[in-house]
Symmetry: C2
Subunit: 251 residues, 2 copies
DNA sequence: ACAATAGTGTCTTTCAGACAATATTTT
DNA sequence: AAAATATTGTCTGAAAGACACTATTGT
């Protein structure tokens, strides 16, 4: 098939965002309520069209700022801003009933607290527990709200994003993206526990993370915001690769 | 920005393939020579437009068959066919000088031997060492041919594909995708050595892979195709996850 | 006999996981 | 004092890396 750009089928290209944060010892995702059909009134991942002159990652960063007020720290940039990386691309022919839409999904990891709907067009946005969104209820049925699945194929996208986050904190320092600039070992451990949904031994965890050169840098300060004995404060060190990795217990 | 499908900017969507194989104890990629501008005469990754009614992975599998005669074993399917998985998506505004093209790259891992250009429109295709293609020459300068970089941003796509293959064989059984249906432990080890570009201890490697339950299944047969003492033949077992992983030595 | 590859066993070191014990705060 | 969290240390078992040794072929 000769490469004939004049005869290509027309596509719309969008970016969708899986924005994850840790709060209340659980993993939460940002969702927005759809104001128009299709899937009107349903929750969906934030996102929007890629403009004609912008790169994909630019579009993702723009949508992120528009819908949450967060700035991204695309790739290498150190401080200030959430981690942003490409997740995967979804392009089933009928995933949008109106037309052919290919969506490039991005994963954003952010510390807690950015109040949802800081600005932009998302008339109603909220953080929702990923367990609830994905129907991973424990069967007790108390989590009544939000059993309606997400719009489009956003269930699958969210699932892929959560799995990416879960596996990537094993061998990288990415878990620190869920923490404020300065944090304690205990806070970092609670991130791992929330993302993996397991309990980790505080003592072994402490030994592991403080014993990995370049992973954590002590700032000198201490805090007692968790109660109990004051804990040292750390910043994320330069090391982005965790070797040997911290493996999830007992899958 | 209201979700207005009637006003979307027009994009072309293509798939590009990073087809990797191991031969002569090195990692090779499939490249095709471009017959028309832009980048006429340059080598490029195989690929083409996504049709209006096909899924992205379908398009990748179709291009793969058209350009190599290989069948893919998308995802779970066991035997018969190369491994195919989505790699990443590239959409910089000027990556194709003619128009806005977003390309979804797929990674294909295949055993050796499929003679290139089994069929289709690629008038000239060949296997090229990834080291040569990516300019990782050792400085001795004997690899004269092919210092011209690949067309478009295919250098970056190839680099990403190679890195994905390198990291994924650490914690999965994916290295078996480079092997024929039946293979020896030594052949599997040479795959790891070629992909990582390191030497592994044959004895420790043997202990590791045969000691991981479900990773290798003995077929009963033996072969002597490598010379020396006959080696047991194995098939890939059901286990797709390698735990604990086989870590690359000494990055 | 010799070279080449396959496979087993042994030793040392590293590290994960279990858990005792101590330290420093709030209530 | 009691409860909560942080931190250090000790022990055990699993596994990686180094490497001696045996096994079975081709030349």
């Amino acid at each position: 098939m000769p490469y004939d750009p004049s005869a290509f089928p027309p596509f719309a290209v969008t970016v969708d965002l899986v924005v994850l944060t840790v709060r209340k010892d659980a993993l939460y995702a940002l969702v927005v309520r759809r104001g128009e059909p299709p899937y009107q009134g349903r929750w969906a991942l934030p996102g929007g069209f890629v403009r004609g002159d912008e790169d994909l990652e630019e579009a993702a960063a723009r949508e992120l700022t528009e819908e949450t007020g967060l700035r991204s720290q695309a790739l290498e940039d150190q401080d200030a801003g959430a981690h942003l990386e490409q997740l995967a691309t979804y392009g089933a022919p009928q995933r949008d009933p109106r037309m052919r839409v290919v969506s490039v999904a991005y994963l954003v990891l952010a510390p807690d607290l950015p109040a949802p709907t800081a600005g932009g067009d998302a008339r109603s946005a909220r953080w929702a527990s990923t367990d609830t969104l994905l129907g991973a209820g424990d069967g007790s049925g108390w989590e009544v709200e939000q059993q309606v699945p997400l719009a489009f194929d956003h269930d699958q996208i969210l699932r892929d994003g959560v799995e990416r986050a879960r596996s990537k904190i094993e061998y990288s320092s990415l878990a620190t993206a869920f923490c404020p600039p300065e944090f304690t070992v205990g806070e970092l451990r609670r991130v791992y526990e929330a993302v993996w949904g397991v309990a980790l031994d505080p003592r072994n965890f402490h030994r592991k993370v403080t014993g990995t050169p370049g992973f954590l840098v002590p700032t000198g300060g201490t805090t007692t915001r968790q109660g109990g004995r004051p804990a040292q404060l750390f910043r994320a060190g330069g090391a982005t690769l965790l070797n040997p990795p911290m493996l999830r217990p007992e899958v």
